[in-house]
Amino acid sequence: MLELKNIVKKYFIGEPNELTVLRNINLKVLDGEFVSIVGASGSGKSTMMNILGALDRPTEGIYSLDGQSTGSMTDNQLSEIRNERIGFVFQTFNLIPRNTALANVELPMFYCGMGKKARRERAKELLALVGMEDRMDHMPNELSGGQKQRVAIARSLANNPSIVLADEPTGALDTKTGNMVMDLFLKINEEEKRTVILITHNEELALETQRMITLRDGEIISDKRISERGRVS
């Protein structure tokens, strides 16, 4: 479970000007939920994603993950939180070039100090889960966009995170591959019972999730359950 309480994020650009990107955000996401955060560009969703991903600290307010407040944590502790509790999926995949698909999936486990053998084993399982088991020795530049994103999803699950944070995961993919990736998130949510937070500007995509949170000018303007999930095609 994660909770945002009175979160404010301001950027200081010179003395008189301060830019408030998030204003008084309150949000609770329960375990196993599939939540989407939508908004136009400039609505503050990237900043929200950075705070949810423990990449950034709020100016005011408390962000707690699994009942643990992140406010007083050191940079190294935040690194550990990202490593163990959060799985990232990016729009541009962000696979490490010159590392095979397998090595990319192993990376989060490498940083938490898991042994080589256990790492390899788990990475193979995860690649099988996303249907990439026969391409695990390929380099990222030998993979298509959809394949890269599947490897990235496998990587996000490496350390059994509490939440998977996906930032426009289908943004760089065509509709068909995008749907396939979306199906994968649904599968992860349903079968693995994992919390997934999808950040997107695409409301159609958001309608496939259980709950849609809309941001505008740094504020949550709507938070609604989606009763009937279905793809509008």
Binding site: S79, F90, P108
Partner: protein, 432 residues
């Protein structure tokens, strides 16, 4: 974790082969020069040591020095004199009077004053160069007046016959000990030369000597330009015979051979005291005793200083190489900003990022260093072959230099690595 980082470093070197090679070039050239200089320096020291210790470690040379020169200078003078094998002592332009020189009485008194500690004394006097001729056969010689102790002091190996004896010296006998080389030139038929008479053609006289012994000629140092047959070899005759026509009967130096069980350094001090006493009333001159070990020390020290100075200059290219590594690491860090952001998002701590780039810099420098060591050894082998010196490669030096090249990488990679480690993950992820 280290192993993985090393593998990572190699994969990034492989990915940019040309760039990595150019980066390494500075390190390669620097390490190569340092290694080559160390090998050549060691070879020269070994060569000098070898030559000098063959002259006898138990020898103590007593030579006339001008008062007021410090001991370091005396050592250098002694070294010079030995290496030139001449008898020159003057350095400041002053020449000692005959009464300042070492007399036969002084030399004889040494053996009497230190019974049991002195094996013998050796004196020599250069009689100049000459030629032995008989019909169309000839051999070039340099005449050397010696006494019986000379053979011991200079490690002369007799092949047959005997060396110059004290009786020869007393009698001013016309006896000679010649080299095997001279025998080869003058007695090509293999006749036994012992007891044969040879004619020595000097610039202004012809003298006849009876051969009493043959010694083994050892070529020392560089061969020089002379054809084998023309090489001049020493022609040993009694010192008294060599000095028969010379007014000056005294010596500028002589050598004391310490007995085997005697501490050479202590003996040197004793001789110094002995001669200080003899020369205490002389205002300008003194006799200075020194032995091989102090000469060897000063020569090795001088050679070492020269090597060090050259190596220091060579290490400037290492500095340039290190800056090259730093430069390329900065480029690499910028290029891989997104990778750094991703790694941080996946849970890498600043320390993990830092060590990754430091190891990469260290590996680039180490690989460059190893290539440099191989090339440097190769150059060292060629040079030592050309100057005909022994090849000495110290594994500690090689290992030390390999470690040093790695240290250069760590030193110059530290700043770029810190820059990478301090990157803000959000900005790094957004970097295009």
């Amino acid at each position: 974790m280290i192993v993985e980082n090393i593998a990572l470093a190699f994969s990034s070197i492989r990915a940019n082969k040309m760039r990595s090679l150019l980066t390494m070039l500075g390190i390669i050239i620097g390490i190569m020069s340092v290694i080559a200089i160390v090998i050549v320096g060691d070879a020269m020291t070994a060569s000098v040591t070898e030559n000098m210790s063959s002259l006898g470690a138990g020898n103590i040379t007593v030579s006339i020095q001008e008062k007021g020169l410090d001991s370091a200078e005396i050592n250098v003078i002694a070294g010079e004199r030995i290496s030139l094998s001449g008898g020159r002592t003057a350095r400041t332009g002053n020449s000692p009077e005959s009464s300042d020189l070492i007399t036969d009485e002084m030399i004889n008194s040494v053996a009497e004053s230190f019974p049991g500690e002195v094996l013998g004394v050796s004196v020599s006097y250069s009689g100049g160069s000459a030629q032995v001729k008989s019909k169309d056969l000839y051999a070039n010689i340099s005449i050397s007046g010696t006494n019986s102790g000379y053979a011991t002091a200079n490690n002369i190996t007799m092949i047959s016959g005997r060396y110059i004896s004290e009786r020869d010296v007393e009698a001013r006998a016309m006896t000679a000990v010649v080299s095997d080389k001279l025998v080869g030139n003058m007695f090509p038929n293999g006749d036994d030369p012992i007891g044969e008479k040879v004619k020595v053609y000097k610039s202004n006289s012809i003298e006849t000597y009876t051969i009493v012994g043959i010694y083994e000629y050892e070529q020392m140092g560089f061969g020089g330009m002379a054809a084998d047959i023309d090489i001049s070899t020493p022609f040993y005759i009694p010192v008294s015979t060599a000095k028969a026509d010379v007014l000056e009967k005294n010596y500028t130096y002589f050598t004391v051979i310490a007995a085997n069980n005697v501490d050479v350094n202590a003996m040197t001090d004793k001789l110094q005291n002995y001669f200080d006493n003899l020369y205490r009333n002389n205002k300008l001159w003194k006799a200075s005793a020194s032995n091989m070990s102090s000469m060897l020390d000063s020569i090795s020290e001088t050679l070492g200083t020269i090597s060090l100075a050259i190596a220091f200059i060579a290490s400037i290219s290492l500095l340039v190489g290190g800056i090259g590594v730093m430069n390329i690491m900065l480029v690499s860090v910028t290029e891989r900003t997104r990778e750094i952001g991703t790694r941080k998002a996946l849970g890498a701590k600043n320390f993990n990022i830092k060590i990754q780039f430091v190891i990469e810099a260290a590996i680039i420098s180490l690989v460059g260093g190893i290539i440099g060591i191989i090339l440097g050894i190769f150059i060292g082998i060629i040079i030592t072959n050309v100057i005909d010196a022994p090849l000495v490669i110290s594994s500690i030096v090689v290992l030390g230099i390999a470690m040093f090249s790695m240290a250069i990488g760590i030193f110059f990679g530290w700043y770029p690595a810190s820059k990478a480690a301090k990157m803000d993950p959000i900005e790094a992820l957004r970097y295009e």
